[in-house]
Subunit: 329 residues, 2 copies
């Protein structure tokens, strides 16, 4: 049954969680009403401040998210949480069942919690996560926390598409190297060394300082990412994290960096949707056996893959042009 989008949007604005949940389902499921929802949300977006939070498994992401939510709630802010599950690129099924439960905030009407698994198709999360953020934004959240596991390029990329990105580490996990490999050391605006009561916390801070400082000649006006120590399970250091986030926000607003970052994020979002649309069109061409026929010729050696790609692109462009003409007629 088709949803009544205007009513859902109105209810979401009033803070009704079921309407918010329903809208997110519509956008992440790429329902036929996706476009209607997005058009309705557009003028309502832009209020929420988006915080990305990423780190390797075991650094205490859920606990940290929960503690941050607590701090924001005490300050009277409405908070949305988008917890992104990595899943296999091949099965389409989520492998991690142990998702954040966020027990203490589950019944708070000022908190929306949503888990999201990778969709089956390529680029699925990169495409769906920003749409879910838009729903939470339009629903009146002041802060949207996007929590991802920093194990894959796409997860890291999602966390990087935030107003402020927080990278979490923990001592004694050989974490530095792992983090470096995943690229998460390069996206942090704020670094948090959680479980700071454990042995090796200071060494981790030192190592991090060293890695962050390497090869970077910063200008005086540049943002220097702070490193905050926390014991999230006991709430220690959490206020300092919030303070660091506020400082980064103020710094960006003063310099016009926030507006710039949001433009870049929107551009990235548009491009991702466009690439997905073009990919789908190629899939339709494949359904029409065009790609298969090209592949056979490449395997047989009568065509090279570049020449084949040219033919495919020409087909996609032709189909798009045909569609455009169809609309005009």
């Amino acid at each position: 049954m088709a949803a009544d989008v205007p009513t859902l949007v109105e209810q979401a604005r009033e803070g009704r969680p079921r309407a918010v949940a329903r809208l997110i389902s519509l956008v992440e499921g790429a329902s036929p009403q996706l476009r209607e929802v997005m058009a309705a949300l557009a003028p309502l977006c832009g209020n929420a401040y988006v915080v990305g939070l990423t780190g390797s498994p075991g650094v205490g992401k859920s606990t940290s998210t929960s503690a941050l939510v607590g701090a924001y709630r005490r300050a009277g802010r409405r908070v949305g949480i988008l917890a992104v599950d990595p899943s296999s690129p091949f099965s389409g099924g989520a492998l991690l069942g142990d998702r954040v439960r966020m027990g203490e905030h589950a019944s708070d009407p000022g908190v929306y919690i949503r888990s999201m698994a990778t969709r089956g198709h390529l680029g699925g999360l990169a495409w769906a996560a920003p749409q879910a953020v838009r729903v939470l934004d339009a629903a009146g959240c002041d802060i949207v926390l996007v929590e991802t596991v920093g194990v894959g390029q796409s997860e890291v990329e999602i966390a990087a598409q935030a107003d402020t990105s927080v990278v979490l580490l923990a001592p004694g996990m050989g974490d530095g190297i792992q983090a470096a490999k995943a690229g998460i050391l390069e996206i942090g605006d704020v670094y948090v060394v959680n479980k700071a009561d454990r042995e090796g916390a200071d060494a981790t801070v030192r190592e991090l300082n060293h890695m962050l400082g390497l090869g970077e000649a910063r200008s005086p006006g540049d943002w220097r990412p702070p490193i905050v120590k926390t014991v999230a399970a006991r709430g220690e250091g959490v206020d300092e994290v919030v303070e660091a986030l506020e400082k980064h926000r103020a710094w960006m607003e003063e310099r016009g960096v926030l507006a710039e970052r949001r433009s870049r994020r929107a551009a990235h979002e548009i491009e991702t949707i466009a690439v997905t649309a073009l990919r789908e069109r190629m899939g339709e061409l494949r359904g029409g056996q065009r790609l298969d026929a090209l592949a056979e010729r490449v395997v047989g050696g009568s065509l090279d893959p570049y020449a084949a790609a040219d033919e495919l692109v020409a087909g996609v462009a032709g189909a798009a042009a045909g569609q455009a003409r169809g609309v005009q007629d």
Copy 2:
């Protein structure tokens, strides 16, 4: 200076390593001559058997690759090795300096060794690796080993684009869960538990057996991925790995699966090149400030990202159609 492509190709066919290296540089650097090279290589490809080899850091990939190369060389086969470095999606620089040196094979004229780092742009490796494989194939390699670190989706995907994919594990690394997260447990045609002289090797084999068996009702004709124990550093079990690879090849050839897999690989390759081309075109439109203008409207709330993507796609298609017309005129 433009390279003399026909001469380079001829020299590569004669087994001259510098010509092979030069051709790979031309294709991975996306030089203006890329298309000329690919067209020249097309009719020469299809002889090499491509083996993908992936696993977490520390399982002994380099040692295993080296041992496999030794086994193939003893059988008189020419071998190409493509060692793919993961690198940050944000810096474009390779972070791992400790690449395979392959000391014992470095001076063997029947072995080509090539390391490859992620290119700066998105999808870079997915696009460049198959082209390098084509060069090694055309140069007369019987076997091409593509070695990747199984830490990210794109690396795993590269290893999956092989005739036979080998997944390496080692005991006592909590490896199972890590492997599962990266999706590498789903791509193996052959599994190798290396460092099998260490404690916990049998437990790893059991765990692997359990994970591979889960939820899969195989038909009698299906390929059941074998698990081979090795101590690659001492050469133990390496002949068994080669034997497992040969069995898998024979199994695929008998059933026409190899031809099917190669068609699918070519289709994937064509699609990747096509998407890259379309992305580049969007970048050109961005250079023309079209994307930036759309992003501003999305940030301002006067346009939603889907409607913006429609405009972008129409622009790309229009440009392609215009180009096509330009050629015809």
